[in-house]
């Protein structure tokens, strides 16, 4: 199913871009159209071939290994963690945000306190020491801290 949805998604993006491109003037739209029109055609071909393979297979074979580890559910779970990371970074800044995220993640996955502590300390040290001090990258403080300090 995914093997059809994904090319379809790409096709919709390309189609939108083609529509935009048609409105540009010649220099701006020549190459984009030159590339995107064939790509759209190839995508249609790909979707068609996928559908044909599926129709030929009378019995639908289930995908990959245990759904728990490789299926959609697992992926969505991982994305939830990504969202958590982005939110903590946004609100607490890089140092506090990373530390908090790492703490929550590691403890949720039952990593021993010792290893958790080491990981958090090392990560924060690297962020602060290498990115912050050595290379003077401006470390975003997060919404929370900028409002209060």
């Amino acid at each position: 199913m995914f093997n059809i949805l994904f090319p379809l998604a790409l096709l919709s993006v390309v189609s939108v871009m083609i529509i935009f491109a048609l409105g540009y003037d010649d220099t701006a739209r020549f190459f984009p159209l030159l590339v995107m029109l064939p790509v759209a055609a190839l995508l249609v071909l790909e979707i068609f071939l996928e559908l044909r393979t599926r129709v030929k297979q009378k019995t639908g074979k289930p995908e990959g290994g245990p759904a728990e580890k490789t299926g959609l559910a697992a992926y969505l779970k991982s994305q939830a963690w990504v969202v958590l990371l982005l939110l903590s970074l946004y609100f607490l800044g890089f140092i506090a945000g990373s530390a908090l995220f790492l703490l929550i993640y590691l403890r949720t996955h039952e990593v021993k306190w010792l290893y958790t502590a080491i990981s958090v300390v090392v990560t924060v040290a690297v962020i602060y020491g290498a990115f912050g001090l050595l290379f003077e990258v401006y470390l975003y403080e997060g919404l929370l801290f900028s409002k209060f300090f």
Binding site: F6, T27, V39, S98
Partner: protein
């Protein structure tokens, strides 16, 4: 003159010079290892220190740093699937699978050997071509750059591991993405929906991190197992030596890719990112077992690594001959020339032959020493590969976020890296080719610009230029020689 050359080379063996080179290398290694930061950041930070330094010392510091940073980037690419810098993205295609199979030490060995010898190759070519520098650079204009980029695009077909159809789609989509942003030739904004963020197009670092680094991290999170799926991995000296030997086993590949790197380095503007991919594609084409590429094949690591390091030697050519930087790093180094009071150009070669050769020596030594230092550090660094995915996964995500942010201090870069991460993961699941997309993304708009420039400056006759024609012929044959060969054999037999 020969005494000058000798003096120049020997002058780098001064204790202060070596010390500064070493210091620069340490900084460079750390920079390379941290995703998102590259030699360019290092140069911007170190340049203020260079005021008042004697010129050999100044360049030992800067070039030592720069040489080491790309090697540091290879380490993260191999061990963590995170490209430390743009060119490293090609290394991870085979480097990371090797790590997953427990051969991290060997992969690192190849990378280090390739860096050392690739840098040597580039440096030697540089030294030998000194008298020819100007004519070489003068011969390459927009038309030549256009053909080279076009050839690079043609390699998209070669890169695809699964179906060619999916490879072409991936590459084409990448090219489409490259058109987002401001069109230099006309001043038009394309596909940006009035967002300033997209004004310059999708940025390189979020793209590399999102396309390659994040899917790997997600895998770790989802599976929980460590990067190395084999047993506990050590990078022993013998592992790395094995990688070292690989370079000699595949010496033809090494020479091919180093040459590609050097040539592409000579052409200003085409950019270092291209060299690694073209080298990878060529090596795969030329190989007896191309299907192994992408699964953890040593040649697949050797190819991009040799070309990336040889490229810097090539990039020095236009820099020294004209003061036109051959790569982004050289652009900043030009500033250093001014600071120490030198003017690159024909005068430099005439009046400061000794210094020029000391630069070549620094370039070579920097690469070699960098490899040695990294080899020593590698034994410790490799341990990261054994850490369970439950711990490494989130840490890599954080590093990716950091890296995306570091380039421009823009939170949106972090967001776009993760959105591209979704694309990258989806592409893997659907068996499309991320490398092909990436190559299309780098080269697409570039090809367009060069095309319009060539047309505007020369008219359609640009296709008739000698180098252009030669490259077209070379390209045609190298891409098709396998079935062309069969064709000739058949006709031979029939006759």
């Amino acid at each position: 003159m020969y005494t000058d050359i000798l003096n120049g080379i020997l002058s780098i063996f001064d204790p202060m010079v070596l010390l500064l080179m070493f210091g620069g290398m340490v900084v460079g290694l750390v920079l390379g290892i941290l995703p998102g930061l590259s030699g360019l950041t290092g140069l911007a930070i170190l340049i203020p220190l260079v005021f008042g330094m004697e010129k050999t010392q100044a360049f030992a510091l800067l070039m030592g740093m720069y040489a080491a940073s790309s090697q540091g980037g290879s380490v993260t690419a191999i061990l963590l699937n995170i490209p430390g810098t743009g060119p490293n993205a090609a290394t991870l295609l085979d480097g990371f699978p090797m790590t997953q199979q427990g051969h991290a030490g060997r992969a690192l060995g190849i990378s280090l050997a390739a860096s050392a010898f690739g840098g040597l190759f580039g440096g030697v070519v540089l030294a030998l071509s000194m008298p020819l520098l100007r004519p070489i650079v003068m011969a390459f204009g927009s038309p030549e750059s256009f053909i080279i980029v076009l050839l690079g695009l043609a390699y998209i077909g070669v890169l695809a591991t699964a179906s060619p159809l999916k490879g072409l789609i991936s590459g084409g989509f990448g090219v489409a993405l490259s058109f987002i942003g401001y069109q230099e030739v006309s001043g038009h904004m394309r596909f940006t929906a009035d967002s300033i963020y997209l004004f310059d197009g999708i940025r390189l670092v979020p793209m590399t991190l999102g396309l390659f680094g994040i899917p790997a991290a997600i895998d770790l999170i989802m599976s929980g197992s460590s990067i190395s799926q084999a047993k506990i991995v050590h990078a022993t000296a013998s592992d790395m030596l094995e990688g070292f030997k690989d370079l000699f086993r595949h010496w033809r590949t090494f020479l091919l890719c180093s040459s590609i790197g050097t040539v592409i380095g000579i052409i200003p503007g085409v950019g270092g990112d291209v060299a690694a991919w073209v080298a990878y594609g060529s090596a795969k084409q030329a190989s007896k077992h191309p299907e192994k590429f992408g699964t953890g094949c040593p040649e697949g690591v050797l190819a991009p690594e040799s070309s990336t390091n040889a490229k810097e030697g090539g990039a020095m050519i236009p820099t020294l001959a004209f003061g036109i930087p051959g790569s982004a790093g050289m652009a900043v180094l030009l500033g250093a020339f001014l600071i120490v009071g030198l003017t690159p150009g024909p005068l430099l070669l005439r009046d400061h032959v000794d210094f020029v050769f000391s630069l070549v020596a620094i370039l070579i030594l920097g690469n070699v020493l960098g490899s040695v230092i990294l080899a020593l550090a590698a034994t410790q660094l490799v341990k990261v590969v054994n850490v369970p995915g439950t711990i490494m996964g989130p840490i890599i995500l954080i590093l990716v976020a950091m890296g995306a942010y570091s380039t421009a201090g823009n939170i949106l870069d972090v967001l776009s890296a993760f959105l591209i991460g979704v694309l990258g993961y989806a592409m893997r699941r659907a068996h499309f080719s991320s490398p092909a997309l990436f190559l299309g993304y780098i080269l697409g708009a570039m090809a367009e610009s060069y095309f319009y420039l060539s047309l505007e400056a020369y008219g359609w006759m640009f296709l008739m230029r000698p180098i252009v024609l030669t490259l077209i012929v070379i390209g045609f044959f190298s891409l098709n020689y396998k079935w062309l060969g069969k064709l000739f054999k058949k006709t031979g037999r029939a006759a």
